[in-house]
């Protein structure tokens, strides 16, 4: 693709992140979607980029390991509050 990148594909790639993040005006989104309908490669790049972001996004309820928390509280002289976690 990089050797013979179509002008429209280049334009899409430049706007890809903002398109994924929903930060582009509706009119521009329509243009991008029209291009995507006819361009298999750009569709693959869009789908796989979205999936890449899905895979890395951190889980909401992840906690710091208990031993790490304990050492942190001790280092900060906050031992007395170790048991207060809600």
């Amino acid at each position: 693709m990089s050797d013979h990148l179509h002008k429209n594909c280049q334009a899409l790639l430049g706007a890809l992140s903002e398109y994924i993040d929903g930060e582009l005006p509706a009119e521009l989104c329509k243009e991008i979607e029209k291009h995507l309908e006819g361009c298999d490669n750009c569709r693959v790049v869009l789908n796989t980029t979205k999936r890449t972001i899905d895979l890395v996004r951190a889980p909401v309820d992840e906690d710091v390991p208990a031993d790490v928390r304990e050492r942190l509280f001790k280092r900060l002289n906050l031992d007395e509050y170790l048991s207060l976690k809600s």
Binding site: R51, V68, L72, N77, L78
Partner: protein
């Protein structure tokens, strides 16, 4: 995504040295700061150093926190500086790509067009898939990795990422696009070559 950002903290109590309030702050933000350290430095010991130094620093400098930015932005700024200092302290090998001023757009053009996005997550992360994903993040040039960790892993907004890293929003967007393209390409290479029995 970060529930702690919706919590209210008394800046007055924190400034006055209220230990209970500080302990609450530590519990609210430890997970994301530890994760930032892990993703930036790639190992648990360094991540723990970043975590401890961030809160020691915060404790020391709370009196100078003016509340112009949110407390999460302020903590992320301390943590990202700690992580970058750690990376540059010589403990970690510097990625050669970080020594180049800025990569050009041509370095991030897609080359692989295999659509692996339809595979379920448990299949994508099976076998060495998860490790490969972690390795790919570690290989991101440092200037792109910090933006990527804040924006895509921690779900910090473009505006706040720019404020944390003292960059313009345009610069954050450029780096984010390059980081995403870099990772997509590496994952595409992996999933298009992964042996069938591993899938």
């Amino acid at each position: 995504m970060i529930n702690s950002t919706t919590q209210e903290f008394s800046i007055e109590a924190l400034r006055a040295g209220d230990k209970a309030e500080f302990a609450r702050l530590v519990d609210a933000f430890s997970a994301q700061i530890y994760r930032l350290g892990l993703k930036m430095l790639g190992n648990e010991q360094d991540a723990e150093d970043v975590l401890q130094n961030t809160f020691l620093n915060a404790m020391t400098h709370l009196s100078s926190f003016e509340g112009r930015s949110s407390i999460s932005t302020w903590l992320y700024r301390i943590a990202s500086n700690e992580a970058l200092m750690h990376l540059r302290s010589g403990k970690k090998k510097v990625n050669i790509e970080d020594l180049q001023p800025e990569n050009s757009d041509d370095d991030f053009l897609p080359e692989i067009f295999v659509d692996w996005s339809i595979l379920p997550e448990n299949e994508l992360l099976a076998g060495e898939g998860k490790e490969n994903l972690g390795d790919a993040i570690k290989k991101l040039p440092e200037n792109l990795r910090m933006v990527f960790v804040l924006r895509d892993i921690e779900d910090v907004s473009i505006k706040d990422t720019a404020e944390i890293l003292n960059l313009t929003e345009t610069n954050v967007k450029t780096r984010l696009l390059r980081a995403r393209m870099f990772l997509r390409e590496r994952l595409s290479a992996y999933y298009s070559e992964r042996p069938k029995e591993e899938k």
